[in-house]
Each structure stands twice: as structure tokens, then as C-alpha cells.
């Protein structure tokens, strides 16, 4: 078994938590883009952005993780990730860095995790000063989970 000893993660903050997704899944990270809201869609869908002529759906990670909404005026940033045969954007509070992690410091999510966090968090890397929570992009963007949020509150 030759597993790479280190892995690289693109890290960002959402609601005070420190998350990461494998850097190879990330196409780019960009500043706030103007969005067109999509009525009647799930509340997780924030809107559509124009990414150099390509229309990309933006998902609000705060809503997906059932965290309180961003304070007024705080503009989210986009982490554009590859998913299925296209790209989607994850809205995060702040983009941090690309972090190299040691496989030995990884620990799967504790059984005490509840609800949506249990679904989407694969586990944590114990960094020196904090925990890096690894998101399972497939689960985060699972169509069932997102469309089941349909009609929650469509006010936009």
C-alpha cells in the first residue's frame, strides 16, 4: 500500500469553522461575483454566476451546513470546484490557503457528530493550532440532499 504521505487541501472558513477540500478538485478561487438568484430552487442554491462565459451554480455552504446566515454586507468568496461533468461554486466566508497535511494526523469524524455535519465531514486533520475539517464534495453537492431542501424558504 503506497498511499501518498501528504495531501494538499484548499482551505477556507465558513461560520468560524476551518474546512478543506482536496486541492485537485478545485479549479480556482475567486472573489465575490454578482449572482442571479434562481426562484423556486433549493435555498442552498444562492444563484448563478457568469464565470468567463460559463454559467456556474453557486451553493451557499453556510446554508448547506445549516449554519447561521452571513452578517449583512459580508460578501462571500467562490471556491470553484469540479463536480460531475461541470463546475460549481461553493460560497465561503474567506479563503485561506493551500495546506499540506500529513496523513498520520488524519482522524475520521467522531461518532458524536450529528446531523448534516456527520453526512458531509469526512474527518479532521489535526494541524498544530487547529483542526482542518475535510469536506466530502460528493456529499455536499449530492443532488438528493440539495433538492430535498426545495421550498424551504425561497425568498430571495
Amino acid at each position: 500500500m503506497t498511499i501518498a504521505a501528504t495531501k494538499q487541501f484548499c482551505t477556507f472558513f465558513v461560520g468560524g469553522h476551518y474546512f478543506g477540500v482536496p486541492v485537485l478538485d478545485v479549479q480556482e478561487a475567486i472573489r465575490y461575483q454578482e449572482m442571479t438568484s434562481v426562484p423556486l430552487s433549493s435555498s442552498v442554491v444562492s444563484g448563478l454566476i457568469n464565470l468567463r462565459g460559463q454559467i456556474v451554480v453557486a451553493f451557499d455552504l453556510r446554508r448547506r451546513l445549516e449554519l447561521p446566515p452571513r452578517s449583512d454586507g459580508a460578501k462571500p468568496m467562490n471556491v470553484v470546484v469540479r463536480h460531475l461533468d461541470g463546475v460549481v461554486s461553493l460560497l465561503v466566508d474567506e479563503i485561506d490557503d493551500v495546506v499540506e497535511t500529513d496523513e498520520v494526523t488524519f482522524e475520521p469524524a467522531p461518532a458524536t457528530l450529528k446531523g448534516v455535519a456527520r453526512e458531509v465531514i469526512l474527518g479532521a486533520y489535526k494541524l498544530k493550532n487547529r483542526l482542518l475539517l475535510v469536506l466530502d464534495i460528493e456529499k455536499v453537492l449530492s443532488i438528493e440532499a440539495i433538492t430535498s431542501g426545495d421550498g424551504d424558504d425561497n425568498a430571495s
Binding site: P39, L84, A155
Partner: protein
């Protein structure tokens, strides 16, 4: 192809930007760019066009093979093979068409023995027809087979539990036929190598809808069925109308657009009426169900605000259904490039896709059929029809459209087909030419005829200083204005004409809305003016110019 689409988008952006600039060099450069892009787009489109016959050419063989397997005799007829379609569309409709044809042969056309018993020729007929209509391509596939047995459909749907019995009892025959598009539906008694697996018409329907087309089925038991497919000429770039609702922009494909109606505030609240909470508008005497875009999309206030200056209604055609979409404002028309929505928004049937507007922002494209479904329009229309039956006349679907006008105490009906416009002129506009009253109308001369001369009544027009109503009619020699006292209504009715004495200028009389009404013979009225009148007019005009 996608590149051309992108180019068109980029051009739109440049155009929008240049409109804010005043540099003449930039303007002429953008105009040049605009022209070139349009030409390029056109020629690329042209090269991609292929006749549908190319696709159809394999069908006779498919039909023969299949007919052989099923022990039936089928003749294929084709019409409009040279109808051209975009290459991608030709590719996309190949499988659905084949499926429909297999269905028609397997389920539709009967065995020769049964056919002779039913008094039909032994050989079944399957006809394929393609033609252009209003920016769309229509394909009709019809067979002269057994047709769809509605009872069988009903029983099968119940057995398969696809729909609850309560829902089923409320369905009309037409809706029942549409049930064959349900996933998992099959009427075939047993599964054969040809069909009966339940993966059928729903796949056909989704495939057709995926390329922006629509599918409709008509069937008559014992006579055969016809499937009508409407598909856009091309996928990539479509003309659309841009509207707003709650300050968000939406694009409506122009193929489903019928007309735009704007109601000013004073009349808006009077003319939008309610039938059991469903808003309707009387469009030329027919009730048009209204749908508020903001309430369908759940984005804002569901009801009309009293302080809105005017209402804009976009009259749309969804399948067989017409409805009015009330939007906040109507912006512009634009050529848009359709981009599919991501996997996560597939379930939003209200949207057909998205596009990038001139300013670089994203706008959603409305799916008119989905919108009507989402608004629950089918059920509302039924409610309206029901309340129609209860009260007002409902049998007005057939009959003639008549314009009712009043002259003195008489009411006169004019065939709407002869009426070009209704106008109002101030009394001071009347001038005289060639001894006749005329008005200047659209840079031309409109000769006037006072209808009171024909009714023998007394018209208020000659002395009155107030503005007068004119019905502009088109006749054999040009247009002509009929002076009337008032415009009453437009009705659509089956009239029975009775001749009561022979009077010049009238076809006869009838009772419309409980009132004796004379039916005007417009041609007689116009020709009652010396036919050379118009020539004189011309000469007078030329003389005047000299």
C-alpha cells in the same frame, strides 16, 4: 457552433457598452462588428442545416422489418423531406422518432385480418410530415390504426398505480391520453422484442423536451393517432423577449410569444376580473387566464399593487393553451444563447436554461409550458370554462367575429375581418377632397363615409365638434373610414341572418345581444363610392404636388 454563440454574446456586450459611449469611431467599429457577427452566425447556421429526409431515409426499412416481425402490412408516406433542421437537432430526434414509429406499428396499426373486418384497407398507412411554421419545425407522425383506447389506458394506469383513482376520475379524455407519457407506462399486454417494456413515450417526451421541443398527441379510437412534434429550428441562438419581475431579468423564447398587451392604470383594475380567485382578462372578447410571474416564482407580492402605473401582459402559447403572463416590465428583445442549467437545477421545470445578457449578468430563460404547469393553469382553465357554462355564453368558440358599432339608435355589425383599425379623430381633422370628407391618416388620405347615410338615421357627426369614431376598413381599392357614433363591442357569435327588406349596404339583420343588429356589407359600402374615386384622389394628390 458554441463559439459563434459566444461571439454573439460578446457582440451583445460590446454593443451595450458602445451605446453608452459617444466616440464615433468606436460606434462605427461596433456596428461593423455587429454586422459581421450576424452574417457569420447566419452562414454557420446555414452550413449546419440538413434536410430531415436524411434522417427519414432509414425509416422505410425500419418499418418494413418491423411490420414483417409483427405480421402487418404498412406503407410509409413522407411529405416535406426537404425541411431543413440544425444538425444537432436531427441527431437528437432520431431515436425518439424511431421509437414513435415502432410504437405506431406495434400498437397502432392492426393485423390485416382485423383491418379488413373494420373496413379498412389491409395495408396500414403511416405518414410522416414535416413543415416549417413560425420559426419552428413541425413533425407529424400519423397512422390509421386502432388509436389509443382511453379505457385501456385508464385501467392500466390504475393497475400500475401510477395515479390515484380520485385523480383519474377527474381527468378529461385528452388528459388521459397524455398519461401515456408517464414513466413506466405501457399498454402492451405482453413484453415483446419490439415494445412493452414501459420505457417508452416518457423517454421520447423528455428527449424532445430536452431540445426545447414539445409533443402533442391526438387519437381517435378506431381511426388512428397523430403525434405532433414541435421543435425549434436551432438550439444554439434563439430570439427572446426580456422581461423583469422583482427586478430580476428573465428571457422568454419568442416562439411561444403571441402578443404583448399593456393596460394603463385606470383601465387595468377594471379590466382584470376574477373568477373564483383566478384573474382573467378579456382579450378581444375571450377570457385570457392571467398568471403573475412574481407569484409563480414566489419572489414577491402575489397580488397586484394599486399603485402600479400600468400592467404589462405577455400573451403566451403553451401547447394548446393561451395565457397572459403579468410581468413587472418588458425590456427588450435579444438574441440569446441557451446554456443548460446545472444538474442541481434540473428539477426546476419553470426554467428552460440560462443565458448571459449584454451586461455580463446571468438571466434565466423561462420554460413557458413548465410555467403554465407550475401555475396550475390546466385546472384553472377548467374552472373558468365551468363558470363560463354557468353564466355567460360559452359556445363562442365557433362563429364569426363581429364588431358592433352604434349609429344613431341603430346597432350595426361589421365583420372583424374587414376591419383594419379603430381610430378617433378630432372634428377639426376633417378636410374635403374631391367633394368628399377625408382625413389625413398615416401620411395618406383616408376617405370617410358616414354610416348614417346608409342607416337613414340622423348622425350627430355633421354638426358635432367632439371627436368622432372611425372604423378603418380595408377594401378592394384601398382603405376607407366609416364614421360611427360609438364602438360598442366585439362579439363572436353564430349569427343567423334574416333579410328584412333589401337595403343598400347591408347583408341582412340578426339579433345580437338581444338587440336587432344590421350586418354591414363593407364592400358594397365602399363600392358605393364611385370606384374611380380613388383614382381621382390620386390625381388630385398628384395635381396638388404639381
Amino acid at each position: 457552433m458554441t463559439l459563434v454563440g459566444e461571439l454573439v454574446l460578446a457582440r451583445n456586450q460590446v454593443l451595450q457598452f458602445s451605446a453608452t459611449q459617444s466616440d464615433p469611431a468606436l460606434l462605427s467599429a461596433t456596428q461593423q462588428l455587429n454586422l459581421l457577427t450576424s452574417e457569420l452566425q447566419e452562414s454557420v447556421m446555414k452550413t449546419r442545416m440538413q434536410p430531415i429526409g436524411k434522417l427519414w431515409s432509414k425509416f422505410p426499412r425500419v418499418v418494413r422489418d418491423l411490420a414483417g416481425i409483427c405480421g402487418k402490412r404498412v406503407r410509409v408516406q413522407m411529405e416535406g423531406e426537404d425541411t431543413e433542421l440544425d444538425k444537432t437537432i436531427i441527431e437528437a430526434i432520431g431515436d425518439p422518432l424511431t421509437h414513435i414509429i415502432r410504437n405506431a406499428i406495434d400498437h397502432g396499426i392492426e393485423e390485416p385480418a382485423i383491418r379488413t373486418r373494420r373496413g379498412k384497407p389491409e395495408e396500414g398507412k403511416l405518414s410522416l410530415k414535416a413543415f416549417h411554421e413560425g420559426g419552428q419545425v413541425n413533425i407529424e407522425i400519423s397512422d390509421d390504426g386502432a388509436g389509443i383506447n382511453v379505457e385501456k389506458v385508464r385501467a392500466k394506469v390504475l393497475k400500475q398505480g401510477l395515479i390515484s383513482p380520485e385523480q383519474l376520475t377527474r381527468m378529461s379524455e385528452r388528459e388521459l391520453i397524455q398519461l401515456i407519457f408517464l414513466p413506466g407506462f405501457s399498454t402492451a399486454e405482453q413484453v415483446t422484442s419490439v415494445s412493452g417494456r414501459g420505457v417508452g413515450m416518457d423517454v421520447v417526451k423528455t428527449n424532445i423536451e430536452k431540445i426545447g421541443g414539445s409533443l402533442d398527441i391526438h387519437s381517435e379510437l378506431g381511426k388512428g393517432s397523430t403525434i405532433k412534434i414541435k421543435i425549434p429550428l436551432t438550439l444554439a441562438i434563439i430570439p427572446a423577449l426580456v422581461v423583469t419581475s422583482d427586478s430580476c431579468r428573465y428571457a422568454i423564447p419568442q416562439v411561444s410569444l403571441l402578443e404583448l398587451v399593456r393596460l394603463d392604470s385606470e383601465i387595468a383594475f377594471k379590466s382584470v376580473e376574477n373568477i373564483h380567485g383566478a384573474p382573467v382578462y378579456r382579450l378581444r372578447g375571450k377570457l385570457l387566464p392571467l398568471v403573475y410571474l412574481s407569484s409563480v416564482l414566489n419572489t414577491g407580492s402575489a397580488q397586484l399593487n394599486q399603485d402600479v402605473a400600468s400592467i404589462d401582459i405577455v400573451v403566451l402559447q403553451a401547447d394548446k393553451l393561451q395565457f397572459g403572463l403579468v410581468v413587472e416590465s418588458i425590456k427588450d428583445t435579444a438574441e440569446i444563447v441557451v446554456k443548460p442549467l446545472g444538474h442541481h437545477l434540473k428539477s426546476a421545470s419553470v426554467f428552460a436554461g440560462s443565458t448571459i445578457m449584454g451586461d455580463g449578468k446571468v438571466a434565466l430563460i423561462l420554460d413557458v409550458v413548465g410555467l403554465a404547469e407550475h401555475a396550475g393553469l390546466a385546472s384553472k382553465v377548467e374552472a373558468i370554462a365551468a363558470s363560463n357554462l354557468a353564466g355567460i355564453q360559452n359556445d363562442s368558440t365557433e362563429g364569426e367575429k363581429l364588431l358592433l358599432v352604434g349609429v344613431g339608435d341603430n346597432s350595426i355589425a361589421i365583420h372583424l375581418s374587414t376591419v383594419a383599425r379603430l381610430e378617433e379623430f378630432p372634428a377639426s381633422a376633417i378636410e374635403s377632397a374631391g367633394g368628399r370628407p377625408v382625413v389625413q391618416y398615416r401620411h395618406g388620405i383616408l376617405p370617410l363615409v358616414d354610416l348614417a347615410d346608409f342607416t337613414g338615421g340622423y348622425s350627430a357627426f355633421s354638426q358635432n365638434e367632439s371627436p368622432f369614431q372611425v372604423v378603418v376598413c380595408s377594401g378592394p381599392h384601398g382603405i376607407m373610414g366609416l364614421i360611427v357614433d360609438r364602438i360598442i363591442d366585439v362579439v363572436q357569435e353564430n349569427i343567423q341572418i334574416q333579410l328584412i327588406g333589401e337595403r343598400h349596404g347591408f347583408i341582412g339583420s340578426s339579433i345580437i345581444h338581444n338587440k336587432m343588429t344590421d350586418l354591414l356589407d363593407v364592400h358594397a359600402v365602399i363600392s358605393s363610392i364611385d370606384p374611380s374615386f380613388f383614382d381621382e384622389m390620386k390625381e388630385a394628390l398628384i395635381g396638388g404636388v404639381r
